[in-house]
């Protein structure tokens, strides 16, 4: 439990206790940008439909009215242009928060992210930096088909010079987004859109839940930050460690409760930099490790996690490391729930790893 306690302390270390409100994840993300725009006149928000309309998911609602068009503006439909312009704005001294409307649309911006934003500090030896935070809804479970469902985090964790953050609750979303905006390095902030409006346990055929009543939906209205690189112990346990992030945290939590196994669930929150201490402490304690993510399997972030656990915890392992992931196929529209690494596959993996 030592690792778990240390992480819990880190989670709230900079928290300033202010008024608390019930928020869904969109409201929490909106609040993070609101707080940061209020505090720092250099923070600007840009992207397709983010201005007057307030974003297709409403994440930027009200910001243009409050902070004006010079700081919150719609952009042409060119992701390459959005990120390229954000690099230039960062070089000027602004702190851009561009939105890419769906993570599936981020590929035209890849050169500007990988070769420019991520490399600028290094190649100029610190003369120029790119302190942008790229917000983008990602993941499936909304019948978005193959172009509105992908989880491309592994593409970015493979790139040196960029941080990758994925929240799983409204509370974390706000605290992590504030930390990302304040961070002087480029950060990819992937928002699991399936859980924007409520946690999702993987049972797509049951009525959708809202965040109402969820402990992690009690969000301070003011400023607080959750440091990048610190995981959250979503559930402490002794029997096995489950590494996950985003939507999958909730699917895993539900299955663990259903099976009544004493699993330790680690919500990674930040993939780069990774909280390796929390992972190592947990796996050394439980001796078993299951990795769950929605992204495709081959060269997915789970492969990196698996390698790290093997390198650091090999002599503590009592069973092979297991991965439950999306399949190595495009995200199929009508077969979405066969693709999604849902309760059936997670249950099978937990049973297998506990039997070994």
């Amino acid at each position: 439990m030592e690792g778990g306690r240390a992480v819990s302390e880190g989670m709230t270390q900079d928290e300033a206790r202010t008024d608390v409100q019930q928020m869904n994840m969109i409201q929490a993300i909106n609040s993070a940008m609101d707080v940061m725009m209020e505090r720092d006149p250099d923070v600007v928000v840009m992207g397709e439909d983010v201005g007057y309309f307030g974003g297709v998911f409403r994440a930027t609602a009200g910001l243009q009215q409050k902070y004006g068009k010079n700081r919150v503006f719609d952009t042409p439909i060119t992701e390459c242009g959005i990120i390229g312009v954000a690099v230039g704005m960062g070089a000027y001294g602004l702190r851009p928060v561009p939105e890419i409307q769906f993570a599936d649309y981020i590929y035209p911006a890849l050169d500007q992210l990988v070769s420019e934003a991520a490399r600028l500090r290094y190649r100029s030896a610190g003369e120029f930096i790119s302190p942008m935070t790229v917000r983008s809804p990602f993941g499936g479970g909304i019948f978005g088909g193959q172009t509105h469902s992908q989880s491309p985090e592994g593409i970015f964790t493979h790139v040196s010079g960029v941080k990758t953050v994925i929240p799983s609750t409204p509370y974390d979303a706000k605290g992590l987004l504030i930390a990302a905006i304040e961070d002087n390095d480029p950060t990819i902030f992937f928002e699991p859109k399936r859980i924007y409006n409520g946690p999702f346990d993987g049972h797509y055929d049951t009525p959708a839940k809202s965040w109402a009543g969820h402990a992690q939906a009690q969000v301070p209205t003011g400023y607080y930050r959750i440091p990048l690189g610190k995981a959250r112990i979503a559930r402490a346990g002794e029997e096995l460690t489950i590494l996950c992030y985003g939507t999958m945290v909730h699917v895993v939590e539900h299955m663990v409760a259903t099976l009544n196994v004493d699993a330790e669930i680690i919500d990674l929150r930040t993939l780069v930099p990774l909280d390796i201490e929390a992972i190592e402490a947990s796996v050394k304690k439980t001796g078993r490790c299951l990795i769950v993510h929605e992204a495709t399997r081959t060269s997915g972030f789970g492969a990196e996690l698996s390698a790290l656990v093997q390198e650091r915890c090999f002599y503590h392992l009592e069973a092979p490391i297991e991965r439950v992931t999306g399949f190595d196929t495009p995200y199929p529209h009508s077969l979405e729930w066969a693709y999604f690494p849902g309760p059936v596959r997670i249950r099978e993996a937990i049973n297998k790893i506990l039997k070994d």
Binding site: G81, G88, Y92, R123, S124
Partner: protein
């Protein structure tokens, strides 16, 4: 099966008797062993091009995108409405900066051939493009250059030893040996870090200019790319953003006719001019004799004044010629006529300004020869001083562990771990 393209598979279909389609793959007018051919260029006389007001709506000046702004005529006289009427002092400064750039290029090219560094790129014949622009801009306007605008740093009096340290990737290199030679970065000179990925700097310059406008600043941005890389998506994204937000930015296309071995036809030059890209975006477009530094200066000044008055962006095509290879890794005799550079119809930018200064009576051959001599010694001395900090591959580089610095502001655990592992391995190997 005897006529697979013409009939099999479409037999009986409507259109069977239509002529076969043809793919047009552009071919330059002259290849190695052939005479240079510039007859397809329409080059108007100096002074012929009208000069619109800086506030002119883009729709009222579309002809500028198809003309050619020229000031210096064949006799070395500055003529016409674009003549910037610069004082003698400025003309001689231009001449010196161009000559210094050429001397610098000669020295560094030789250094690469001597094995002192991995790579170099000369700007021979294109010196006017960067130096004319740099002198027309304010010192604190922000430049987002491509790889052949070393003239900007030279015109901004950046120490050439600093540029050489970068080329040698030595202990004096402020960029810590991380970048390919000539990929300078000089924030204090308003010179953005150069990328090897083409035209990425275009939307960045527009973003910088948008930020300057949003903040109510007075500084503008300028950027450069080659004609070949106007084909990149970044170019078009940048033009769209610049047009939409009327960003205070000058977008320069250096049309030096060649993108490595691909002539400008592969970027669309057979069909229109590069300045004409501006027409589609509804922004001001100018097409300029890039070997005429007075024309480059005047066009840049026009665009800068326009941008500063909230008149929006300007796209300037500089019509010039890449006299040397693309880089030290290139051999242009393998793909183009050897005569082209000597027969380029717009001459050499240094020779043309020199002729003008002599015609004005402010310069002569003796002074010019003395200047060339002095500049050759200046770059020789700077190179010797720089080489004391090391040359590539001879040990005098930044410490090994510096490789891991500045990937992030703070080094995360995984980089610290890799750094330590590398040092331990080298120590264990007795190195």
């Amino acid at each position: 099966m005897s006529d697979p393209i013409g009939s099999v598979g479409i037999e009986g279909q409507a259109g069977h008797n239509l002529p076969p389609l043809r793919l047009h793959v552009p071919e330059p007018p002259a290849r190695p062993g052939e005479s240079a051919d510039f007859t397809h260029f329409d080059i108007p006389p100096a002074g012929a091009q009208a000069r619109p007001d800086e506030a002119c709506p883009p729709a009222d000046m579309r002809d500028m995108a198809y003309g050619l702004v020229r000031v210096l005529d064949e006799e070395g006289q500055a003529v016409g409405p674009w003549n910037p009427r610069l004082p003698a002092e400025t003309l001689l400064k231009m001449l010196r900066y161009m000559a210094l750039t050429r001397a610098f290029d000669a020295r560094m090219f030789r250094a690469q051939r001597q094995g002192k560094t991995s790579f170099y790129m000369k700007s021979t014949g294109e010196e006017a493009v960067s130096i004319g622009a740099a002198l027309a801009l304010a010192r604190d306007d922000m430049c987002f250059p491509s790889y052949r605008q070393q003239g900007i740093l030279i015109a901004r009096d950046w120490p050439i030893i600093d540029m050489m340290n970068q080329i040698y990737s030595n202990t004096g290199d402020r960029l810590k040996g991380r970048q390919l030679p000539i990929m300078y970065s000089a924030r204090e000179a308003g010179f953005f870090s150069i990328s090897g990925n083409l035209t990425t700097q275009y939307p960045q310059a527009v973003g910088w200019a948008m930020a300057s406008a949003a903040k109510g600043d007075t500084r503008i941005a300028a950027t450069w790319c080659g004609e070949g890389s106007t084909a990149e998506g970044d170019f078009h994204s940048a033009c769209t953003f610049a047009s939409v937000y009327r960003a205070p930015v000058i977008m320069n296309v250096v049309n030096n006719q060649w993108a490595i071995s691909s002539f400008s036809g592969f970027a669309g030059a057979e069909s229109t001019t590069f300045a004409a890209r501006a027409v589609g975006y509804g922004i001001a477009g100018l097409r300029v004799d890039g070997n005429d530094i007075l024309a480059v200066y005047a066009a840049t000044r026009w665009a800068a004044d326009r941008a500063r008055a909230n008149g929006g962006p300007t796209l300037i095509e500089h019509f010039t010629y890449r006299v040397e290879g693309h880089s030290t890794s290139d051999d242009p005799s393998a793909y183009r006529s050897a005569e082209e550079s000597s027969q380029w119809p717009l001459g050499d930018p240094i020779a043309r300004l020199k002729q003008h200064c002599i015609a004005l009576g402010i310069w002569d051959e003796e002074r010019h020869a003395a200047m060339d001599q002095e500049l050759a010694e200046l770059v020789r001395d700077a190179a010797r001083a720089s080489e004391k900090n090391g040359i590539l591959g001879h040990g005098l580089h930044h410490p090994m562990e510096s490789m891991f610095e500045e990937v992030f502001e703070e080094m995360p655990w995984h980089l610290k771990e890799q750094q330590q592992q590398m040092l331990d391995e080298w120590k264990a190997a007795g190195l």
